[in-house]
């Protein structure tokens, strides 16, 4: 289960809506207690995809390294990655799966006509062949 606190949730939704109609992306940091993850900070990162950013996102590994270091400095953990799907559902697409990493939760925010609509969290496997839905709790969910 992954729970996102109000502050980071607001930042993630605002980020997704501000970047619309393109896809946004970022890192989520917080604490892990067994299967319970709590996101206390969101870090907006650049989408560096060279293709159409309305349908693709790519993180710069160096930015992720920076997020990991920031988490360590705060005595927190890098828990997951978020990105948005403009004008479509918060499913884990084939593109998401083929470019994923099994170490993190992947939160997808659906943005319809510029406004947040719904979200899901996904846990991909190491072979990048399947992603399991993870229970996601956000402030207004």
């Amino acid at each position: 289960m992954i729970r996102i606190e109000r502050g980071p949730w607001r930042e993630m939704v605002n980020h997704a809506q501000a970047i619309y109609p393109n896809e946004c992306c970022g890192a989520m940091i917080g604490t892990i207690d067994g299967d319970h993850k709590t996101v206390s900070h969101a870090i907006a990162l650049d989408n560096v995809s060279a293709g159409s950013q309305a349908a693709r996102y790519e993180l710069r590994p160096k930015d992720l390294l920076r997020a990991e270091r920031e988490a360590r400095e705060r005595k927190l953990d890098l828990i997951g990655i978020y990105h948005s799907h403009p004008d479509c559902g918060a499913y884990f697409s084939e593109t998401d799966l083929k470019n994923s990493c099994p170490w993190y939760s992947f939160v997808v925010l659906s943005v319809e006509k510029g406004r947040f609509d719904h979200a899901n969290s996904w846990l991909p496997n190491a072979e990048q062949t399947h992603a399991e839905k993870e229970e996601l709790i956000w402030p207004e969910s």
Binding site: E23, E58, L59, L65, E68, T95, Y104, A126
Partner: protein
């Protein structure tokens, strides 16, 4: 000797260490030492062919070793190795 920063999800396979000190003259030697000490880490970093998984990047301090000498990149005390995944995606199928 290098410090290896272990990402949170992999610490369970490294006796819960967040950082591991490992001797070695090159990145390859340090990583071999790491997976010899913590064998459970190996399948998370390497595929069945013994190559780093496609999403795994290794940084020596702030540089990606792919743009240095890869496994043969020399390591000096007190260098830091970080394991960083490649992540991308998008709604397009």
């Amino acid at each position: 000797m290098a410090r290896i920063m272990i990402p949170t999800p992999l610490r369970q396979f490294a006796d819960k260490h967040d950082t591991v000190e490992m001797p070695g003259a090159t990145v390859g030697e340090v990583l071999t030492g790491l997976t010899a000490r913590f064998p459970d880490l190996k399948k998370h970093l390497y595929n069945d062919e013994g190559k780093l998984r496609s999403f795994v990047n290794v940084y020596l301090n702030d540089e990606d070793i792919r743009y240095m000498k890869k496994d043969a990149t020399p390591v000096n005390d007190p260098d830091t190795l970080s394991i960083v995944p490649s992540i991308a995606g998008g709604r397009r199928v």
